[in-house]
Amino acid sequence: MTASRTQHLIASSIILVVALIVGWLSFTQQPAEAFLFPRLISVFFMVLAAWNFIRAFLALSKVGEGLSAETALAIAPGLLVTLVYVFWAAKTVGFYASSTAAFFILYTLYDPEPLSNGRAWLKRVIVTTIFMAIIYALFTLLLKVQTPRGHFL
């Protein structure tokens, strides 16, 4: 299966815009000496991005399966939890508290066992506890990593 022309067009447009921004910054920022190498690379970056865009426009882009609605729906809840966990909870709530919650929520979200199964809930609690204990032993006790505490731990 390959992505639709529209999907290829959107993806190649984004890359072309990034390449143009990189090119524009490389050729306008000072001091020029610091941007000598970026200028060289950005020329190739822009040419290849334009070529990629033209191929997508002419429907010649065939590589890559794209993102189906089914895949997007499947990853959406996990992605949302991941974004909240990494960009907000880890620092605000605390590394260990948020990691425990994220592990448990993600495990529950994607566990094929029905939510009504009491044994499955017990298993999730046990697995989460054991995993987080290993993480604590590795990073805090062994490697002495000082993690952000946030409101909790």
């Binding site: 000496e33 610091a34 994607y110």
Partner: protein, 507 residues
């Protein structure tokens, strides 16, 4: 024979324990489908911070060696290759397991991996100093072209699309330029405070290799994956040893092909295994048995993908050009310990370099012993549910990237790059050229700047052109850069035409 003087370092208690731990852990991680060897090594790098460079490299090298071999366990017992390098192993390995010869297949797999691996590491031992000696003649312009060659080779060969492969390399090179310029102190492409110090290579490696795999596991949703398992009746190990002794042809084919493929930057174990399998079939008097559980196919594939490991480090240790994506991650591991591979690695850090290489030799032997001992156990772990693996890899990625500099900025960069890579992969871009660009970018830039300074001092007219584009070695390297791009362009065009012809024929 300088390497013999450094064998003692491998048997120091901490180093040997790390070698054991890396081997056993690597075998288990390798046997786990969905966890690639590259990702396993990337996730291990933060743990090496608190170790000496030698100890850190021993751990990473052991993990690299054994994850490739461990992938054979799930390929044989579950018909799920643990890594792309084990695709060819599954063809005959699983058929043997289904015929009740699982234990025999596992024995032959680890024995051939061990033999191929030992020969590969011996090549590394004997070729590296020679190449390093030759590389002493390299100046900034040659090192610049070598770095560019590394990106174009991987960009051209490791991608299904020629344009997208090279574009991936450009994205990596651009990412490497983010942050403060080393010479002028100028800010470049700093769009957020987290980028002020640039992109830390370890955070980037973890994000690029781990996060797309987490999202791939999410993409499978709440589906219950039922993996069919086969019983593994006991098989006498001595019989397997005798059988390997009689399998000279597939073993030789696999080892030679794996070694050559390893030496060529950018190709990797997947190609080694498949090409060796194909060649073993061509040279076998029992061609018709291949794919039905014939041990020759298994032996050729496994000896090839492990013979590739040692030689893939030759261009890495001498020229800073990794031979495979996992070797690229190892390069990141070397750089964070302040070890710069290249011409004078064996002059400045002989103890680190030789102890690391020797540990890979001992690691091959340990891999055979432990591989056979824990294969059945590893296969059970390989059946760990996807939601547990996805959650565990995500949490490990967060802790691992944070622990590098104790910075939340690294964590944010890790996730952002990982998400970006996931979507890029969905549209045919590859992770390996991005990583190569990111790693080789600073090497290319520093040599470009150094070369420009020399050029301006030496030449009056067209200084950069004269310095970078003249001289026999420069011309050879430029031809290689163009040839790598040209070969990829032509081969992609040929395969596109073949696809189109097939479609027309099907209509």
């Amino acid at each position: 024979m300088e390497f013999l003087a450094y064998f003692g370092g491998v048997f120091e208690p901490v180093a040997f324990l790390l070698l054991l731990g890396g081997t056993v852990g690597g075998l288990i991680l390798g046997a786990t489908p969905g966890l690639s060897p590259t990702m396993a090594v990337a996730l291990l790098i933060p743990f090496t911070f608190h170790l000496s460079p030698t100890q850190g490299l021993i751990l990473l090298g052991a993990a690299y060696t054994s994850t490739v071999a461990g992938g054979a366990v799930s390929a044989i017992l579950l018909k799920i290759p643990g890594a792309p390098a084990n695709i060819a192993t599954a063809l005959d390995g699983n058929a043997m397991a289904r015929k009740g010869e699982g234990a025999r297949a596992l024995h032959l797999s680890f024995l051939s991996s061990g033999i191929g691996g030992v020969i590969g590491v011996l090549l590394l031992i004997f070729l590296t100093p020679l190449l390093a000696q030759w590389a002493l003649a390299f100046g900034p312009s040659h090192l610049f072209w070598l770095a560019i060659l590394g990106v174009t080779v991987i960009g051209s060969l490791d991608s299904k699309s020629f344009v997208k492969g090279l574009l991936s390399g450009c994205i990596g090179l651009w990412l490497s330029m983010i942050g403060y310029d080393d010479i002028q102190g100028a800010q470049r492409f700093i769009f957020h405070d987290a980028l002020t110090g640039g992109i830390h290579i370890i955070a980037a490696l973890i994000g690029i290799f781990a996060i797309p795999q987490v999202l791939d596991m999410f993409a499978k949703g709440r589906r219950k994956v039922v993996i069919e398992t086969v019983a593994v009746p006991v098989h006498a190990f001595s019989d397997s040893v005798r059988e390997i002794g009689r399998s000279g042809r597939p073993l030789t084919i696999g080892t030679i092909i794996g070694s050559i493929v390893g030496l060529i930057p950018g190709i990797g174990g997947q190609i080694a295994g498949l090409v060796a399998y194909d060649q073993a079939k061509k040279f076998s008097p029992h061609k018709e048995k291949f794919g039905t559980g014939h041990p020759e196919g298994l032996i050729a594939a496994e000896s090839a993908n492990n013979a590739m490991v040692g030689p893939s480090l030759v261009p890495l240790l001498t020229l800073s050009i990794p031979g495979s994506p996992t070797a690229a991650v190892l390069l990141g591991g070397l750089l964070i310990h302040g070890i710069f591979p290249g011409t004078d690695l064996f002059e400045r850090n002989p103890e680190v370099a030789w102890t690391f290489i020797n540990s890979m030799l001992i690691g091959q032997v340990l891999m055979v012993i432990f591989g056979i001992a824990i294969a059945k156990w590893a296969a059970k772990i390989a059946r760990a549910p996807l939601p547990i693996m996805a959650s565990a890899v995500l949490v490990l990625a967060l802790f691992g990237s944070y622990s590098v500099q104790q910075s939340m900025g690294d964590v944010w960069i890790m996730l952002s790059l990982g998400l970006g890579m996931y979507f890029l992969e969905k549209f045919g871009f590859s992770a390996a050229p991005v990583v190569l660009g990111l790693i080789l970018g600073p090497i290319a830039e520093s040599n470009f700047v150094q070369g420009s300074l020399i050029a301006n001092a030496v030449y009056d007219d067209w200084p950069n052109v004269m310095y970078f584009m003249t001289g026999p070695l420069n011309i050879v390297l430029i031809v290689l850069v163009i040839a790598s791009i040209g070969y990829s362009f032509l081969s992609h065009r040929a395969s596109a035409r073949a696809d189109a012809a097939q479609r027309v024929a099907a209509q």
